[in-house]
Symmetry: C2
Subunit: 474 residues, 2 copies
């Protein structure tokens, strides 16, 4: 019998023999009843010890691939050859719970990146102090830091929780006990934990429309009914939130995607509404580190006396998105449940990254980078605004906005057709309607400027104007 | 009026003025109706520009703290002083969903570490090649790696998925398309995603008893009824799994905490059971990289022809737990739902760590470290086994075990009292009963040896013997 065995570097010979005989049985090269060479003979042929061959045969016998007959050697057993139990499972047997069929596939990656990248929510990595960050991360990856390398508290590495509490207090007047800060794997996980702890299947959760899509999906995933609530020039229309809503998700500092700030009057209305309805407000403050005029409005969190606001922050926009670190600051009545939920979800966020981020905040590197980027993004913001006023005044009206990494503009041209044509010409941008489930949402475009340098902004907008004027997208 | 304003380094003066007046209003130092100093006067006193003071006053007026009366200056508005809306929320208003009250608080941290650390599941960090790992991580933290710094595919960084598929194929004969590998934030998240995608509230999930506690908690958190199923010398007692069970969680390679391997016969029984019951098997292969004898049994995954087994692996035991990277390999019928669930949970696991781990696997550093640690843990395993046979033969009988980072021993002395007394004497170990919810579980002790060096093992076991003989724990 021609039993061919290859030895590859790194694989023990016993394992190679085992594996290759096994494969030969399963794919039918060795038929049921076929006799294997005696161990002595195969050992000699392969130039290995007889024990090596015996060990492989023993294992194959123990696992039911071979059978030994006294006095007549070793044979391939019946009923195995050609069976498919060694192939990757075909996998039609198990089906997920229905809700997962209803949810859309996740967005695709961007490879290669677009020529003119007006995506929202992507910061300029080229200006990030990677030298500092590398140093801080490398410092953590030492055996002397056993506390952050084994298991960390589910609520987060304590020095990071303290740094976040300080940072939120100084920059946003969000006052909290560090014990109520929960370090999350980004805003996405903060939303997930909040939904998990607060929403029962069938309850109503409200989101802004147009709005940031993930909360809608997260709440749907937990079996909630999700209501899209219109947004006007002052923010979410509180009167339009359906009665009985348990939880409302808002972006008051810099509405996504419109870019407006919620008025103080609307803030007070929303808090009074939550009080009346016994509801919870999730305040996502995702990019207000980058505020270009001097008046950040009070966050809902600090206007709330009763403990109905959960404040959510992210480090994705100041550091980089794939860091996957963010936080939530919740009322003490949710502290225990949120920590338990975090523990069950993924135990805790990675220890070394948490410790490095605490240092980044404590050493002032975070504040320095925010100051630098605030100037930079302000310049880009002004450049986009000016360009829109100069070159697109006939078709687009910018929405007032004074913070963040994107702005939007209203105009009938904000159609799927235009966005497709622009992308085909290398100009990647979103339209307002893509963030809405309502028929009557105002058409418009969204210009992210975090990932595109000023000179590219000019060129990209010029290219967009060309696409617009060609009119083939209509 | 004595309005005291401090300027601290780093805070813009306008903000300092704003913040301190605001606090004075809210804590009652500035009463309703009190007149503020004219901007010119305060500017002169503080040696700042009048614009700075005006900006602070304007903001306070816009936010409703101050009011201007024509001709009579700026005053504190009514109805604010002494209100508590600026304090951290008291937080009694919002209550979590009931299930979170039923779940236990998460385990506490270990600070300082125990003198003799026989915990399970903690590897020896002192032997990990942190130099190599630091280099690989630092290589990722460069702007040229934009693809892993912005947003990564929810399923995982493709080179890591490929490396995992290769690794699982070579070392465990788990054959899979890399597209069916999902990178998770540790085993904990793998369990969470599986439960989320497969379990409906009220359905039954089965776990081994004694067993690893987190799956029980995760399944409970999703509203499942959890059945503990006894384990005998061959593994989980398949006949004791309740009818109608949707999902069963098992540790066939190295049962946690008993340490036995599931017999081949029992494996086939379990697969046949899943087929009959239309159920899913979760196979957690958490530490079988460290196998000390030459015959790893076929994993359930490769014995399964129908796609009913989800294979779960972890990097916590080879690298370090706070890395929070693991994976699951699921049947193709779950691919889409699991990716969606991962996306909604935390979008994706951190990019740079995924890329560094892919390199660690591809460069062979992983395999080298496993080989080194296999020798080391084998020596510790033998040392504990020998010590138990020599010094504890009268009270403990080791459970046969040939892999992993812990072993267990049966004996009447495995009581809460002994474990408490041992911990009080610096010997931290677990008892079998702590991993069980059944009354009739056999008493015994569990000895983890990942975090304790051989010389400390000897001393620790000697100390344990002294505690045992003192008898005060009875």
């Amino acid at each position: 019998m021609d039993l061919h065995i290859d030895f590859a570097a790194g694989e023990p010979r016993r394992d190679a023999i085992y594996r290759q005989i096994r494969s030969a049985v399963l794919d039918g090269r060795l038929r049921a009843g076929a006799a294997l060479p005696p161990t002595r003979e195969l050992a000699a042929r392969l130039a290995v010890s007889r024990n090596t061959v015996s060990a492989a045969y023993d294992r194959l016998t123990a696992e039911g691939f071979l059978a030994g007959r006294v006095g007549s050697g070793t044979f391939v057993r019946d009923g195995l050859s050609g069976s498919d139990f060694d192939r990757p499972p075909a996998g039609s047997a198990v089906e997920p719970v229905e809700v997962w069929d209803r949810l859309p596939e996740q967005p695709r990656g961007f490879a290669p990146p677009p020529e003119f990248d007006f995506r929202t929510g992507v910061p300029d990595l080229g200006m990030f102090p990677f030298d500092t960050w590398r140093r801080l991360v490398a410092q953590q990856l030492r055996v002397s830091n056993a506390d952050i390398l084994t298991y960390v508290e589910p609520g987060g590495h304590p020095p990071l929780r303290e740094a976040i509490a300080r940072q939120a207090g100084v920059s946003r007047n969000v006052r909290t006990d560090p014990a109520d800060v929960l370090v999350t794997s980004g805003t996405q996980q903060a939303l997930d934990l909040i939904a998990r702890v607060l929403l029962r299947p069938g309850e109503t959760a409200a989101v802004e429309d147009p709005g940031y899509p993930p909360p809608r999906l997260v709440f749907t995933g937990f079996g909630a009914r999700v209501a899209g609530v219109p947004v006007d020039a002052e923010g979410i229309v509180v009167d339009a939130i359906p009665p009985g809503t348990r939880l409302v998700y808002v972006t008051p500092s810099h509405q996504f995607p419109l870019g407006i700030a919620m008025s103080m009057r609307r803030r007070m209305e929303l808090i009074a509404w939550a009080e009346r309805q016994d509801a919870v407000i999730v305040e996502d403050d995702y990019d207000t580190e980058f505020r270009f005029t001097g008046r950040p409005m009070e966050p809902l969190h600090s206007l709330d006396g009763a403990g109905r606001v959960i404040y959510v922050g992210s480090f994705s926009k100041v550091l980089y998105p794939a860091l996957r670190l963010g936080y939530l600051i919740a009322p003490p009545s949710l502290r225990s449940a949120l920590r338990k939920a975090k523990y069950l979800t993924d135990w805790h966020s990675p220890g070394p990254a948490q410790a490095a981020l605490a240092r980044f905040l404590d050493e002032g590197a975070f504040a320095r980078h925010v100051r630098k980027m605030r100037r930079e993004y302000r310049a880009r913001h002004e450049l986009v605004t000016e360009s829109l006023k100069l070159d697109f005044a006939d078709v687009l009206t910018p929405v007032p906005c004074s913070a963040g990494l994107h702005l939007s503009a209203i105009g009938e041209c904000g159609t799927p057709g235009l966005v497709r044509a622009a992308r085909a010409s290398g100009v990647f941008l979103y339209r307002l309607g893509g963030f809405s489930e309502r028929e009557d949402v105002r058409p418009g475009l969204v210009f992210g400027y975090g990932a595109i340098r000023p000179e590219r902004i000019r060129l990209g907008l010029r290219r967009l104007r060309v696409v617009l004027d060609e009119g083939t997208w209509r």
